[in-house]
Amino acid sequence: MHKVEPEAQSPIGAAPGKLPGPRACLSFILGACILCASALGAPATKSDSAPKAGAAQAANATSNPYVGGDVCATCHEEVSKKFAGNPHTKLAAQHGAAGVNCEGCHGPGGAHVAGGGDISKIFDPAKATAPQVDKMCLGCHQGKHPNFDRSAHGEANVSCIGCHSIHSSKEEKLLKAAQPTLCYQCHTDVKPQFAMPFHHKVDEGLVQCSDCHDVHGTFEKKSLKSATQQDAVCVKCHTETAGPWVYEHDVVKTEGCTACHTPHGGPNPRLLNRANVNTICLQCHSPSTNFTTSAPLGPAHNQAAQYQSCTICHASIHGSNTSGVFFNSTE
């Protein structure tokens, strides 16, 4: 293939039948070049060799290893057309260029073109290792997802393209499929929990996995988010349980909501860990001085009598400003 200077035409951003302006094209190319240089140009290990090898070979083949997105489109027309609506095109505005073109992710295409489409001369994320793919994406998105390398997904080699499809996604954030279908593909143990009689309405579309979990990782366990004041993320919706209270139910603050609730779904009402409310309470509040733990002990209510549930009386169980035994009224 012939050497191609930065293009005056670009397929990206153009609607069928319409040509983009020259400003868009130039910014497209220049922005991509600058992005590539900053994200990929630093010295790297051999594991990051694919783009570098491509660059080195391209440099040998031609003085400009980059050929421009328009050249890519001559063979990959379908992919280029679909890229018009891709949020990556937004980077065009950064330098007046036309966005992140093909070479922004796949590396310089000169050698690939010179080799007649030699796929070994271009970075193919589908054939690269997960760390290679992550490194490429995080070259731009590091600031947004700084915990990814240490996250469960990052350590498990679930690369960015494990969930995102840069070329052919119809979902938000370029996901391969919408939540929770996407998550269920691997987390097969979670899907039945949301099918339980009592569950957060994830399958119904009201709540998403990403409402509680940041899949790219957080400093919390299980990639959970937190409320603003660093209470459990649950209080973002269940605000009336957050407090702070005069009389704290300590376990809520120290052990968390999951001490009593199972957040995905289960057979127990109010997503409790047990069907019998009393046995949840008696696990800690057994009226025996022999039992080890700090106070409080429980009073000896006759379980044979009228009250099925401790929370009939102790209704303000998440905390109270009026009652040290969590009654609804002042004592």
Binding site: Q142, A195, L206, V246, A275, T279, A305, N328
Partner: protein, 796 residues
């Protein structure tokens, strides 16, 4: 005489869409059947994974699609789907409303809007705008999402979600009924008919610039009536009207200091308003000798209590008329407005400046304050225990406030990953978290009460005949916790196909409180992982975590935990495998085994959560695909616990109860030891889940999606009271469905969906004790129903 209450009617609202006239629904359905439009589904049932078909079919005549429209410089795609649902329900209406809550009526089933600029230079406001909505018109939940952006200038995304939270599962907070029951209460005493609304907006200005700005606003409300209960002056049911809201304002700035290095500052402000007053649900009983009506729930299964003395001594109720010498309530109201603010500051940084090193960290401070202003609580009735006829409480702090609390929270976190060589990398994560929650209240109480010698004191005794006293009660409490944790990991990529990681997690935790506790524990645990990826088609992940806690000072708890039920040893193994042998098939298998225990011999707590699950998606062709899931899950726990139990004819001792010396009463509980029993607190919930569905598109104009889902829980638990039954712990939930989309024309399609929901309990519906079926007021919770949805979609 007693009056059965209808909780649904008393709370005023019906479950969503429940009571629409059948005639109008049928009419709408008839109109829809004669029309035609393009319809999508997407909202009710999950769709199969979008994998490639087995055969790469050359692109044939594409499915009908609307013509391209250009308006104002934008390429416009819109669609709207209108229709209705026709619902038939059999069995328990409260359970249908609790679990599904779908009624009949017209709906706006869906709406989408997509605008894309043809020339961003000529469209100054935005380049792209997308939105979609679903559920409006009567569904129990509505969702709207909106996104628009303008190149390098800004990004905006927002959502609005509404959910009707109707809950009437009559086994929760259900006072037990027996032959001596006074009031039949078929519904849950803690019934909810509330609505949650959540609005979320996020704006990023100059997202690509060196300096970018963020603004966000979240508004969440929880409103509506609910029932709650109070043990004071008898047992009364209260109507509590939830009116809680939280507004979260966020402002942030991100500065790209250098290559892949960003410094961010976030300022949050949360304002919470809690206005959920309560009052009596309504008087139920006449009081003997006049005096108005008295409210009492009257669920004493041992209704042999008598009140009064001499000639006035009688049972609590005689022929439905309340004994005025017994405890009772005629007025119970509380107004306790809460105002809470959480101003929070956060400084973050992340850097990948050096190719082989990535680090990030944050420091956060939050100083929240919560006040209860203008507090008022009024009780009128009779408390025989304290001879009280009326008590009015108000705030004793400045300006009539009743409580003043704080939450002060500090976080500092740091993480780093360093690539030492091609094969070897290390990482470390340090976390510091400390909070303290001090609180104080002051309550002024004005009390009208007699004494033990007050003659003839009863609920009709005029207040003027009793002395009035004013007291003040002031309290201060606090709870503090500090956690310092560090996780160090090393990862060896032995080959591109095989990676091992291992590390150590250490945590120290300190809790102090107003009770004089100063407790510290150390936690240590191993973290191991392996990734086996022999090809791009197969990945196997194996992870193992462990944790063990130990005391760190002399005053810690012997069980090495803060609470009895918290484990002091944890082992957790997870194995996940995904296999994609070809483009047309996806397989996934998961094994998850969580085992934990508290090995204190006086606690004997053990628990496990074990899961084996499998999923397969097969795309046989462009026209046909299948989806199958199976999971077995077992949740189990047991803990030694003590409880008091006085057996009766209708309440015999629970099976396995042991009169054990382990259970020793405290000085504050002087009941006789023979009535104290040791239980095992057993809970076991094994469940099977199966789902299968297929997608079939025999022609470009027709698509069929059908399947079914079954969740079978066969659990059991130690029921301390024999009148309790397993309920949903032993139940089956079966939901088959079928969906048809017929494309009539490029812009029109017709959509029909049928969904069946069947819930049935496998265990006892009502208790049978000594051959007596305790069925009063506890109707069957089984329910099943069908939802037929017909829609017409117009895409333009």
């Amino acid at each position: 005489m007693t009056v059965e209450t209808n909780s649904q009617q008393r709370l005023g609202g019906s479950p969503a869409g429940f009571n629409h006239p059948r005639f109008s629904t049928l009419t709408l359905a008839a109109i829809l059947l004669t029309g035609g439009a393009v319809a999508g589904l997407g909202q009710v049932q999950p769709q199969p994974d979008a994998a490639k078909p087995a055969k790469q079919v050359a692109e044939t005549t594409p499915a009908p699609a609307p013509a391209q429209r250009v308006l104002g410089g934008y390429q416009v795609h819109q669609s709207i789907e209108v229709g209705g649902r026709y619902t038939t329900v059999s069995g328990s209406q409260p359970m249908w409303a609790t679990l599904i809550n779908q009624g009949s009526g017209g709906r706006v089933l869906g709406e989408t809007l997509d605008l894309r600029s043809l020339n961003p230079a000529k469209t100054p406001l935005f380049d792209t705008l997308t939105s979609y909505s679903t559920g409006y018109g009567g569904d129990p939940l509505d969702v709207t999402r909106l996104k628009f952006s303008k190149g390098r200038w800004y990004d905006f995304d927002g959502s609005f979600r509404r959910d009707r939270n109707y809950f009437d599962y009559n086994l929760l907070a259900q006072s037990l009924l027996g032959p001596n029951a006074l009031v039949a209460e078929p519904d849950s005493l803690h019934l909810f008919n509330t609505v949650r609304r959540n609005t979320d907006t996020n704006l990023t200005i100059l997202p690509l610039s060196i300096v970018s700005f963020r603004a966000a606003y979240n508004h969440g409300t929880h409103e509506g009536p609910s029932y709650t209960t109070l043990h004071n002056g008898g047992d009364v049911q209260l109507l509590q009207w939830f009116r809680n809201s939280a507004d979260t304002f966020t402002g942030g700035v991100d500065v790209k200091l250098a290559k892949r290095t960003t410094l961010s500052y976030d300022q949050f402000y949360v304002l919470y308003k809690g206005d959920s007053p309560f009052s009596l649900t309504g008087a139920n009983y006449a009081v003997k000798n006049g005096g108005g009506l008295m409210e009492s729930l009257g669920v004493d299964t041992l209704a042999t209590a008598t009140c009064g003395s001499g000639a006035n001594k009688a049972l609590e109720f005689v022929n439905g008329v309340a004994n005025p010498y017994c405890s009772g309530t005629t007025v119970e109201t509380q107004s306790s407005p809460i105002r809470t603010t959480f101003p929070t500051e956060q400084l973050r940084f992340s850097s990948g400046y050096w190719d082989r090193v990535a680090m990030n960290g944050r420091v956060l401070y939050s100083g929240g304050v919560s006040d209860v202003n203008s507090f008022n609580e009024t009780f009128t009735g009779l408390l025989t225990r304290t001879y009280t006829r009326q008590e009015i409480d108000s705030g004793g702090l400045a300006n009539g406030a009743m409580a003043h609390n704080k939450r002060v929270n500090v976080n500092a976190d740091y993480g780093i990953v360093a690539e030492l060589s091609k094969m070897f990398s290390v990482s470390d994560t340090f976390d510091f978290w400390a909070f303290r929650v001090p609180g104080s209240n002051s309550v002024n109480s004005t009390i009208w009460a007699g004494t033990a010698t007050t003659p003839n004191l009863n609920i009709n005794t005029p207040l003027s005949a009793l002395p009035q006293t004013v007291t003040n009660s002031a309290n201060q409490f606090f709870l503090n916790q500090k956690i310092i944790a560090n996780t160090a990991m090393a990862t060896a990529t032995i080959t591109p196909q095989f990676k091992l990681s291992g590390g150590w997690r250490f945590k120290t935790r300190n809790i102090t409180d107003d009770g004089g506790d100063d407790l510290t524990w150390h936690f240590n645990g191993a973290v191991l992982g392996a990734v086996i990826q022999p090809s791009s088609a197969l990945r196997i992940n194996v992870n193992y975590d462990s944790m063990s806690s130990s005391s760190a000072n002399a005053t810690t708890t012997p069980s090495n935990t803060y609470t009895r039920e918290a484990p002091n040893k944890i082992n957790h193994v997870r194995v996940r495998a995904t296999f994609k042998p070809a483009n047309w098939i996806n397989l996934a298998v998961t094994g998850n085994d969580y085992i934990a225990k508290n090995d204190d011999p006086l606690v004997n707590h053990s628990e496990h959560n074990q899961d084996v699950s499998f999923a397969a998606t097969v795309i046989a062709s462009e026209q046909l695909s299948f989806d199958f899931n199976y999971a077995y899950d077992d949740v189990y726990s047991r803990t030694d616990l003590c409880y008091l139990f006085t057996p009766t004819a209708t309440a015999p001792l629970p099976p396995g109860a042991a009169n054990s010396g382990t259970c020793v009463l405290s000085d504050s509980n002087p009941q006789g030891a023979p009535n104290l029993y040791l239980g095992k607190g057993l809970y076991d919930s094994p469940s099977n889940f199966v789902s299968a569905s297929f997608n079939y598109a025999p022609m470009r104009k027709l698509r069929i999606n059908a399947g079914a889902r079954l969740n079978d829980v066969n659990g059991s638990a130690e029921q301390l009271n024999p009148l309790m039954v397993p309920g949903a712990l032993a139940s089956k939930y079966f939901t088959p469905f079928a969906d048809i989309v017929l494309n009539i024309a490029p812009e029109w399609s017709w959509h029909g969906n049928y969904a069946y929901d069947g819930y049935g309990e496998q265990g006892a519906m009502n208790a049978t004790v000594n051959g007596i079926n305790i069925a009063d007021g506890l109707p069957s919770r089984n329910t099943h129903g069908s939802i037929l949805t017909l829609g017409v979609k117009y895409a333009f």
